[in-house]
């Protein structure tokens, strides 16, 4: 017998083998609904290759997936204090690499703050000109997450190219590169 379940409004990205794999079994049928998820891309062919289901093997249970999500979901920071990888017990300031990168429709920018405070996150083009400010407000300690949808301050689509995203918090700042491909 097969497990049953549902997976919805999740970001399921960057798996080594398959994003979703349902093993072969004897009672085929719709057993798992995977609807409205973001798979790291909006390319349907790519998504199809990441989901192992009845189209791939008729003896498998059907993962009834609908790749309708066009961009990652904003998932709240799940916990209020994030330990550092080094296990010191204190969160540290980190600006993480965006993902996906390169990206098309949207990309996720994550950062960790050591303490609650105000932070400004801004996008610049390669000429150093400001494209848009994603946020300029108070953030909690630990991990926070923003999404850039590839539009400028006037809500117009930005051109393909290399962009910088920069965070400036209390006494610290950092910047990283990302690539928008259309």
């Amino acid at each position: 017998m097969t497990p049953t379940g549902s997976v919805s409004e999740c970001n399921i990205t960057n798996s080594g083998w398959y994003a979703f794999f349902a093993s072969s079994c004897t009672n085929s049928g719709i057993t798992i609904a995977a609807e409205n998820n973001w798979w790291g891309t909006d390319n349907l062919f790519t998504i199809e290759g990441m989901v192992y289901h009845q189209i791939d093997a008729s003896s498998s249970p059907l993962v009834d997936y609908d790749p309708c999500a066009a961009e990652p979901f904003s998932i709240d920071t799940p916990t209020d204090v994030r330990e550092t990888p080094g296990g010191t017990g204190q969160p540290i300031f980190v600006l993480r690499q965006n993902y996906p990168n390169p990206f098309n429709a949207a990309t996720v920018i994550e950062f960790d703050l050591p303490a609650p405070g105000r932070a400004r996150i801004e996008i610049f083009n390669i000429m150093g000109q400001s494209v848009t400010a994603l946020a300029d407000r108070w953030f909690p300690a630990g991990r926070s997450r923003l999404i850039w949808d590839g539009t400028d301050a006037d809500n117009r689509p930005a051109a393909s190219g290399v962009y910088l995203y920069k965070i400036a918090a209390e006494d610290v700042s950092a910047a990283k590169k990302m690539i928008l491909l259309k």
């Binding site: 097969t2 497990p3 919805s8 399921i12 083998w17 794999f21 093993s23």
Partner: protein, 245 residues
């Protein structure tokens, strides 16, 4: 012998904790807990061997407590555990080797295991270096706003056995992630077996072997509902389901 009788027998050889005890400072614990007990926020508790919360007993762990487990140690919950940390005073469960200059390894201690009659909740807790950080064996605990890392087998291990109606554990707003570069791609985020109905919401499950590893065994089939969860950078499958015959 009923479980109560077994408890009393082992208490004589192990740790006898007085009724409604409020402990402080460094506490050593092993054997059975047979009376309601509180570990306060200033306590450092050192657990060795099996520490068993008997089936009619409640263990309360207050915000800020540190619970250290010696090699192979395990907290088995047959009664109730309520570990209620806070965002600023989290509760730490880790290896006793997780100290300055220590060399803790994944799987250094067995984990916290809710077993059949076991019940309770873990909130704002951090788990490090366990085999399975938290296990729900035919039981339905709530695990909320916890961080699990450096595990050797799984962040959460959930097995409903042949329980019908299915058990109903909940994992909410947790980070289950390997952060040690040497462990990335090892250990599954959440393992789900047999007759359980698991709710997972608002979690991050990253850098594991499989994000979710779901297994039916014969006619014993799990059900899972996952929403608003980030399952990324897992070495094998984001979600793996196995029919199991």
């Amino acid at each position: 012998m009923n479980s109560r009788g077994l408890c009393l027998g082992i208490v004589l050889a192990g740790l006898l904790i007085p009724s409604s005890a409020v402990l402080s400072a460094t506490v050593e614990a092993t054997g059975y807990i047979v009376n309601d007990t509180t570990w306060t926020g200033t306590d450092t508790v050192i657990v060795s061997g099996f520490l068993i919360v008997a089936d009619t007993v409640k263990l309360t762990v207050e915000a800020g407590a540190r619970v250290l487990f010696t090699s192979g140690a395990k907290l088995m919950v047959q009664g109730e555990v309520e570990a209620e940390g806070s965002s600023t005073q989290r509760i730490l469960f880790t290896s006793s080797a997780d100290t300055t200059g220590g060399t803790p390894v994944a799987g250094a201690w067995a984990g916290i295991s809710f077993e059949m009659t076991g019940r309770g909740s873990l909130r704002h807790c951090d788990f490090k270096y366990a085999t399975n950080s938290v296990s729900a064996l035919e039981s339905s605990p709530t695990i909320e706003r916890c961080v699990m890392e450096h595990f050797s087998v799984a962040g959460c291990y959930i097995d409903g056995y042949d329980a019908y109606p299915r058990t109903t554990p909940r994992v909410e707003n947790c980070i289950i992630m390997q952060t040690d570069p040497a462990l990335i791609g090892t250990g599954n985020g959440i393992v789900i077996y047999r007759a359980t109905n698991v709710t997972i919401t608002g979690c991050w499950i990253r850098n594991c072997r499989d994000g979710l590893n779901v297994n039916a065994v014969g006619s014993l089939t799990p059900h899972f509902a996952v929403t608003n969860t980030d399952i990324g950078d897992n070495a094998r499958y984001g979600i793996y389901t196995y029919a199991g015959g």
